[in-house]
């Protein structure tokens, strides 16, 4: 299979239809692969039924498709079993699920660690848990280049740390977290670890067993799949120990007016009609991703990222938020004093460059960097040199036009 950016780009209908578009906002939403659209359409026109175990053939087909999607997600993550895969409506829903369901097992005074670099979706739920239940919420700080600073990890954990929830990869800086160090410290303390994989999955299949945490969350729309669907992986024993979060159809063993009892995981955590066609579409995206040679793709993503960072370095007074080099994902955020990200992005848009300016749902991190907003370029498998050169040229233009 050809792995040139052009051959990959051709497989994305929106990009194929707009050859002039330099889409550099995949960290917000990746474009959707054609096989996903086909899978959703096929499901809706041949196998649409509710998956609540109807006995007619159409319902059996829907059940099968949905459970096969679960198997696919398990393979994509190298989960121990498909029963460890909970479909949610997205990463945010998955993170809230854990903050509520695991949170219900915590005592006041127990400690939860998150980091300054978290996306609001892995920040606010834990703040809400703190305010609801009286746990202690402690922040892992970041170093000047935005990496999680684990030097004082043991101190931060203290004696009552029960849970550590951190991003695997920052959506602002592209910094990868040293997951192994966190998992080791957590294991020693008997704390569980959740990884927010929202930004990781578009850069290739993951191995949750090798990563070693207890929970892993991601969204379909960030890995070339549909919106409205996400995955929570949870280690079997971790899922089994949690009470349910949402109540409704499909998650119960028995309901009586007095009390209800719960189904086993994963059903316990899938209240209501799940996003069936979206799960099927996500599975198509994941299947496709599993056919790719990620060594080739990541090498190109890295090279483009390097070229971009080099180009940015020539812009006077530009401040790169994040690692200059080394282990980083191709997500590049920067601040040019005096030029507002909104204005920059607006000028870039006129040149068909799609970038996002703002706080990227990471206000605590931006505050740590001393900025309120920044401009972000994020690179995915369909980007190429032309996108990077256009961006560098566009920034020159923005600097001229805005000053």
């Amino acid at each position: 299979m050809s792995h040139t950016a052009a051959s990959l780009r051709a497989q994305f209908p929106l990009l194929a239809a707009t050859p002039e578009l330099h889409y550099l906002d995949s960290a917000a939403t990746a474009q959707i692969h054609r096989t996903v659209l086909d899978a959703v359409l096929h499901h809706e026109t041949t196998s649409r039924a509710n998956v609540l175990r109807g006995t007619y053939r159409l319902a059996e087909a829907a059940d099968l498709a949905y459970e096969q999607a679960r198997q696919t997600a398990a393979r994509f993550l190298n989960a121990g079993s498909a029963d460890e895969i909970v479909f949610t409506s997205g990463a945010t829903a998955a993170l809230n699920l854990v903050s509520h369901a695991f949170g219900a097992t915590l005592q006041p005074g127990d400690r939860v660690l998150i980091s300054v670099a978290e996306h609001h979706s892995n920040f606010v739920p834990w703040q809400m848990l703190r305010d609801r239940c009286g746990i202690e919420l402690t922040l892992i700080p970041v170093s000047a280049d935005g990496r999680l600073d684990l030097e004082r990890l043991a101190d931060l954990m203290g004696s009552r740390c029960r849970f550590i929830a951190v991003t695997q990869c920052s959506n602002v800086t592209g910094a990868w977290t040293d997951v192994a160090a966190i998992v080791a410290a957590a294991r020693e303390a008997g704390a569980r670890v959740l990884l927010d994989g929202a930004q990781a999955v578009q850069h290739g299949p993951q191995d949750v067993q090798a990563l070693g945490g207890d929970f892993y969350a991601f969204s379909g729309h960030k890995c070339f799949g549909p919106g409205g669907v996400g995955v929570l992986w949870g280690r079997a024993e971790a899922l089994t120990q949690m009470p349910p979060f949402l109540g409704g159809g499909g998650m119960i063993a028995e309901v009586t007016p007095e009390a209800s009892t719960w189904a086993a995981p994963p059903q316990r955590f899938e209240a209501g009609t799940p996003p069936i066609a979206q799960a099927v579409g996500l599975a198509a995206a994941l299947e496709w991703m599993m056919t790719l040679d990620w060594t080739v793709i990541r090498a190109r993503e890295d090279a483009l990222c390097k070229r971009l960072i080099e180009g940015l370095a020539r812009i006077p007074s530009l401040h790169l938020l994040g690692p200059q080099n080394g282990e980083r994902a191709p997500i590049v955020s920067f601040d040019i004093p005096g030029l507002h990200p909104h204005d920059i992005c607006q000028v870039l848009d006129a040149q068909s460059l799609a970038l996002r300016g703002g706080h990227h749902c990471a206000q605590p991190l931006l505050a740590a960097f001393g900025v309120e907003a920044c401009t972000r370029a994020s690179i995915a498998l369909y980007n190429d040199e032309a996108d990077i050169e256009a961006l560098l040229g566009g920034l020159d233009c923005a600097r001229r036009e805005l000053s």
């Binding site: 059996e60 063993a253 719960w262 086993a264 995981p265």
Partner: protein
């Protein structure tokens, strides 16, 4: 339709109606209640063992024909089995439903469930009494520990 290909062949209907083993034991040694919350299939299975083997078995079964036929078959034929044999049998039946050619050794009657292969949503109807039997044997002698939800037939069911 050839009766042998039909899900509701006479063998199943007769076996269900015969309701072998229906009732309760006087001297129950192990008991398990499992259900399928989808449709209300519900099995209470009781066993008494002798030297590790089933000496007596009884069940109360509410459910569809497949479930009732399976429970009745257990009532008629399970005496003499030990825990390992029940586990093997259940595994082979599961495999048969999933498409394996072999009928579980020594249990030719299970051939009546072959047409259910085509209906995955019904497999648990057939398996529920066997899983209840496993669970009931597991309770014998065991301190009264709850079986984890995962091992319950019902717990895996999406309703």
């Amino acid at each position: 339709m050839n009766d042998a290909d039909s899900l509701y062949q006479d063998a199943i209907k007769q076996c269900a109606r015969a309701a072998h083993g229906h009732g309760r034991l006087e001297n129950v040694k192990g008991e398990a209640k499992l259900d399928n919350p989808l449709c209300g299939d519900r099995v209470r299975m009781q066993v008494a063992l002798d030297g590790g083997r089933i000496a007596a078995v009884a069940h109360e079964t509410k459910g569809c024909l497949l479930c009732r036929a399976a429970a009745s078959l257990i009532g008629a034929r399970a005496a003499g089995l030990d825990a390992a044999a029940v586990e093997t049998l259940t595994g082979e039946l599961d495999a048969m439903l999933k498409g394996a050619v072999a009928i579980p050794a020594g249990w030719p009657e299970l051939a009546m469930f072959v047409p259910a292969r085509a209906y995955p949503s019904r497999h648990r109807c057939v398996l529920l009494p066997f899983r209840a039997l496993q669970a009931a044997i597991g309770k014998v002698g065991a301190r009264d520990t709850a079986i984890p939800a995962n091992d319950h037939g019902e717990a895996k069911v999406v309703i």
